[in-house]
């Protein structure tokens, strides 16, 4: 579904990603872990198409198409969704209107009829019920005055409503207490299907107690230095990033010697 090859990304002329290779198949859940500043959020932003992130080399192929050739809104209509680390407030625009507009753009792209207000309401209520989310949120302005937990739940609700093929959760666990974390993780688990791929970007292993990944990748200094299954996350929990860093630098040093 998603093939990332040798991806290099710069932000304001600073090299952040230095050659990422990643392959994600439908139905898989991948966790990208790494310390602050390792570039994991940059990867999420680059996939979703934020224009302040310059791709200087490499490619991202999504369902056989060149993702880098598409504008962010086109990527979204093709089924790429990102749950934001810091969801943005849009004063005066209700959540339901915002979501209805987005959903109908996506449906139009898929050649489907737009949902009218009634059908949309039905659709969104169904999803809210599935995720155990209070529908009060729908009539409030997008993220305005939402608590941290509400904002993240709102992101997951959006994911449920828009039904993406590829969902990237960018540090969705940050700033959540354990109860909120559980609600968000439960939501994500309910949205796991055999056709939908999910990439979970996180600093901490604890989210992965609830969302159990098929693959875990560790990012350091803009590279994926280690990949494995869920055990890798637990190993990381035990050893911490420092030990991985040490291993990585010794490997890097050896590599440099041999060159």
């Amino acid at each position: 579904m998603l093939e990332i090859k040798n991806l290099h990304v710069e932000v304001e002329n600073t090299k952040i990603l230095k050659g990422i290779d990643l392959s994600v198949k439908p139905g898989e859940v991948h966790a990208i872990m790494g310390p602050n500043g390792s570039g994991k959020s940059t990867l999420a932003q680059a996939i979703s198409g934020r224009d302040t992130y310059d791709v200087t080399n490499g490619e991202i192929i999504y369902l056989g198409k060149d993702l880098l050739d598409m504008e962010p809104d086109e990527r979204a209509r093709e089924g790429v969704f990102m749950a934001f680390q810091y969801p943005v407030e849009i004063p005066g625009v209700t959540n339901s209107y915002f979501l209805k507009t987005g959903l109908n753009e996506i449906r139009k792209h898929q050649g489907l009829e737009p949902l009218d207000a009634m059908d949309f309401l039905k659709h969104i209520k169904e999803k809210a019920k599935l995720l155990d989310i209070n529908t009060d949120m729908l009539n409030r302005s997008v993220n305005e005055g939402f608590s941290g937990g509400e904002k993240k739940r709102n992101e997951i609700l959006q994911m449920a409503v828009l039904e993406p093929k590829l969902a990237i959760l960018d540090e969705t666990d940050s700033g959540l207490d354990i109860d909120a974390l559980r609600i968000v993780a439960d939501g994500v688990n309910r949205l796991r299907t055999k056709d939908r791929a999910i990439i979970v970007v996180t600093h901490y292993q604890r989210l992965l107690n609830y969302i159990v990944p098929d693959h875990v990748h560790i990012m350091l200094e803009g590279k994926l230095v280690k990949s494995g299954d869920k055990k890798l996350a637990m190993e990381l929990e035990e050893k911490g990033y420092d030990q991985i860093k040490e291993e990585y630098s010794s490997v890097k040093a050896k590599l440099e010697e041999t060159v």
């Binding site: 979703s48 198409g49 934020r50 224009d51 302040t52 504008e71 962010p72 809104d73 086109e74 979204a76 209509r77 969704f81 990102m82 934001f84 969801p87 943005v88 407030e89 849009i90 004063p91 005066g92 625009v93 209700t94 209107y97 915002f98 979501l99 507009t101 987005g102 959903l103 753009e105 996506i106 792209h109 009218d116 207000a117 302005s141 959006q158 828009l162």
Partner: protein, 508 residues
């Protein structure tokens, strides 16, 4: 055709337009889009080829007499005009405003132009010049259809003379007078004499005096005691003739315990030269009466280099003359090269209420200096001001407002909120609030914010499948929502078409 079908049709057209725009703009970046939004072509720029009867250019007493003669006015009306003209000659054009324009040569303007059909007024739409009907159809507001639009009666002013007045009979049943000002002068002279100039005197200001001298036509509304006007009254103004200043004069009187809602919509064709529009609107609300006055103004704003466009210098004022009366102004201003106006309320009656809700959008080289004046004279009077200024391109957008509480106005209350939204970084937003409170029992609150449309907001909407252009519309719409909510339903579709902003919740 039903109201909803009409709306759907309009909605479909809008969607179609949006699709086209969307296709063309698919690849542009955010900056380009903001630019494009500012540079959007004026869609209503067409010219109707109808023979006109002109006054010679220039302004002197003979021209004033010529206008009065053409309109077959009684002597008292001519005298009033001449008094105004003589005053105007002694007045100086004000310069305190925060807009810039080259000096206007008042002697090169024409002050009268009427369709030739003046002598033979059409009795029904069938008799109206087909060219004219076409003009309205291009506007998307064919008169025939409009008749059927729920509760909207239209008094269309085409240049200077009313050519069609609809629904008059139905209103007459209620005792409501809704006609052109010219007709009112002939048929209701006592009312006109009593109220014309009672809120905006002929010597009020430079442009009001000019208007009083040469006003061409406009609307007159009279709602008798205890009558609730059963429909929204609506006028579509159009400036059509090149170099013809448009000087409407509108007067609305609501007797005790009556209610009326009046809609004013404006569109003008493109011209390379600037056109002056100096209208006067007067509202009088007596005891327990309520007047709601809504405007959607999209006069031609000039091209993207600032060439051409309307100078919209208008005096609008309402007087809450009676106790418990209420006057509410709602305006959505998107057009004109320069907008300079302050719809105001004089709160004379005890417990009277004045409201002002405004969205002013300026793009390219447009300039707007607009706001309101709330003058509290009576006890327990209340006023609310909500102003939303949106600036893009290299435009300048100013809010200027006065809240004045007189000594005798015990327990007066005012709340003002002025928000500005900037699209891009070459535009300007300014706020000039003036507050004068002359007693200690009154309370005045003022809030103001300025924000810039955020790249992160746009990206967030993009990431949910919404194009950048739509994202900007949605954000702007959200920003102006408090004001749109005040617009009558009949204007929802119109406003959407004119603004290119989707109106959340109120349509479809």
């Amino acid at each position: 055709m039903s109201n909803s079908t009409e709306k759907e049709q309009l909605q479909a057209e809008v969607t179609q337009e949006e699709k086209k725009i969307h296709k063309a703009k698919k690849k542009v970046t955010e900056k380009d889009t903001l630019e494009a939004l500012g540079n959007r072509e004026y869609k209503w720029g067409f010219y109707t080829d109808i023979e006109q009867e002109y006054a010679a250019p220039g302004l002197n007493e003979d021209v004033v007499r010529f206008i009065s003669m053409k309109k077959k006015e009684p002597e008292w009306m001519l005298e009033w005009r001449l008094r105004a003209f003589r005053n105007w000659q002694k007045m100086k054009e004000p310069t305190w405003v925060n807009v810039k324009y080259p000096p206007i040569d008042y002697q090169s303007q024409r002050y009268y132009a009427a369709p030739k059909t003046d002598d033979d007024r059409p009795k029904s739409l069938d008799e109206v010049d087909p060219e004219l009907i076409k003009t309205y159809e291009k506007l998307g507001i064919p008169l025939e259809e409009q008749k059927m639009l729920a509760g909207v009666a239209v008094d269309a002013v085409f240049d200077s003379v009313s050519v069609a007045t609809t629904f008059k009979e139905k209103l007459a049943e209620e005792g409501i007078i809704f006609c052109s000002m010219s007709e009112a002068v002939h048929n209701h002279p006592d009312l006109v004499k009593k109220y014309l100039g009672s809120v905006v005197p002929y010597n009020d200001n430079f442009f009001a005096a000019l208007n009083s001298a040469v006003f061409s036509d406009g609307s007159f509304v009279y709602v008798p005691k205890g009558v609730r006007c059963p429909m929204e009254l609506s006028t579509y103004f159009r400036i059509n003739s090149e170099n013809t200043g448009q000087f409407e004069r509108t007067l609305i009187v609501a007797e005790d315990s009556s209610y009326v809602s009046y809609l004013e919509g404006c569109t003008a064709p493109k011209r390379d030269t600037h056109q002056l529009h100096a209208a006067v609107v007067e509202l009088v609300a007596l005891d327990n009466a309520e007047i709601k006055y809504s405007t959607v103004q999209n006069w031609y704003p000039g091209d993207k280099d600032g060439k051409g466009g309307i100078y919209n210098f208008v005096t609008k004022r309402g007087k809450c003359a009676g106790v418990n009366s209420k006057i509410s102004w709602t305006q959505v201003e998107t057009g004109s090269a320069i907008t300079w106006k302050y719809p105001s309320v004089v709160l004379q009656g005890d417990n009277s209420i004045g409201e002002f809700y405004s969205v002013a959008l300026t793009m390219n080289h447009q300039q707007a200096d607009t706001g309101t004046k709330m003058i509290h004279l009576g006890n327990n009077t209340k006023s609310t001001i909500v102003s939303k200024g949106i600036a893009g391109g290299v435009s300048q957008n100013s809010y200027r407002g006065l809240v004045k509480v007189m000594k005798k106005a015990k327990n007066a209350r005012n709340f003002s909120q002025c928000d500005s939204l900037l699209l891009g970084d070459r535009c300007g937003a300014h706020t000039f609030p003036y507050v004068e409170v002359n007693n200690t029992s009154s309370q005045v609150e003022h809030e103001a914010t300025t924000s810039k449309i955020g790249e992160d907001q746009i990206f967030y909407l993009n990431q949910r499948g919404i194009s950048t252009e739509d994202a900007v519309s949605i954000i702007v719409n959200g920003f102006a929502k408090e004001v749109f909510r005040e617009l009558p339903m009949e204007f929802a579709v119109e406003a959407q078409k004119l603004l290119g902003v989707s109106l959340e919740g109120s349509v479809g």
